[in-house]
Symmetry: C2
Subunit: 192 residues, 2 copies
DNA sequence: AACAATTCTAAGCATTAGCTTAGAATAAAT
DNA sequence: ATTTATTCTAAGCTAATGCTTAGAATTGTT
């Protein structure tokens, strides 16, 4: 009986996610959102309640985006150190191809909002916990495969690489590629 | 002949710096600034031209602040690896004492604005260049003192520690102290 | 064909943003 | 004491912010 929507929620959400990714939360206006999403303000609020909720859903959308496009090799059952190496060098190359790096949406958010908003902070922490567990699993596999020493402190190394990931997000905005390669090169060889 | 000012430019600038440090650039309104600086909007614009210029001068103020309060041991003629260790563990402890870490104003700025504004980006890069040179000097000293191997790639390690510094700024907002200690512990022992 | 449920358009709401201005207050120089 | 240059107060400017609303348009169902 009702009139049907002329847009797809997931599709416009992904476009919103990209706007937040480029401009950050505060600097993204609803006017800009309706322009980039291709729908009216009314529709935005009808589908996503308000700006903050749209942002939180954008974070979820980003999480999926990144699981499919960046973390996939690391999420394989037997992913080890080789996959970890490829992941970080891939992260640097990804920044090289773009004119100015957007960094990681979640890291950007943590930097911009800190824990000022508890709902958003919760999403950030969930994301980090997920990545820490992913790294831990990869490192355990790497030990099994004898790619890294058996006495490796997996928890410690996972926290280290979580920090490295955050650093790449920020550093890719100011460092050039040689500097970035220096950074991940040192970060990776320390474990051997 | 003129009426004399009732406030000190440097003093209110430092207060402005602190507001930007806590809230970031966009989220800091001129109303909030006049409240925290203790002077009227007119006086702000008379003394600092506009918000952006006030921000840039705040960055300079921060640079001095940090040279005197954080980098001083590293800027000593013969500062070596011991000073580097103390610097990073001190950075973690500084975050521990505060309820929620503010991070580093410059790293926050790089994260929030990227290179969207070229004037601000220039200040950020100047700051990073300064720190890279400082690290290089410290590392050269550390080699001389035989605290680290003679074949250390100083340029590479300097870029690494520049990344580490940026990471601490971001990570201190979400990681707890054990996690942060894991991070700098790995970052430091790799050079041995 | 008429109905009913929902989407869309476009205008408008109050609030806040960065910034400016007119005029009173002040203090050093004459 | 008057002048004069400057600072300060307080009000107000335009534009943008997040969000809402009234009403026209559209669609599947009856």
């Amino acid at each position: 009986m009702p009139r049907s929507k002329t847009y797809d929620d997931d599709l416009v959400l992904e476009k919103a996610m990209n706007v937040f990714w480029v401009h950050g939360y505060e600097a993204t206006s609803v006017r800009l959102l309706e322009k980039e999403m291709g729908i009216n303000q009314f529709s935005i609020y009808a589908s996503f309640k308000n700006k903050k909720n749209l942002f939180i859903q954008s974070i979820c959308s980003y999480r999926e985006h990144v699981k499919n496009h960046r973390f996939q090799p690391l999420l394989h059952e037997n992913a080890g150190f080789q996959e970890l190496e490829r992941f970080f060098s891939g992260a640097v190359n990804a920044n090289m191809t773009e004119i100015s790096s957007k960094g990681c949406l979640i890291v950007n958010t943590a930097g911009e909002l800190g824990d000022r908003d508890s709902d958003i902070a919760r999403e950030v922490n969930q994301y980090y916990d997920f990545i820490r567990e992913m790294f831990k699993n990869v490192l355990r596999n790497a030990v099994k495969k004898q790619e890294i020493p058996v006495n490796t402190n997996v928890e410690q190394q996972a926290n280290f690489f979580l920090g490295v990931m955050q650093s790449i997000s920020v550093a890719s905005k100011t460092m050039d590629n040689n500097q970035l390669n220096d950074f991940i090169s040192v970060a990776l060889k320390q474990i051997k």
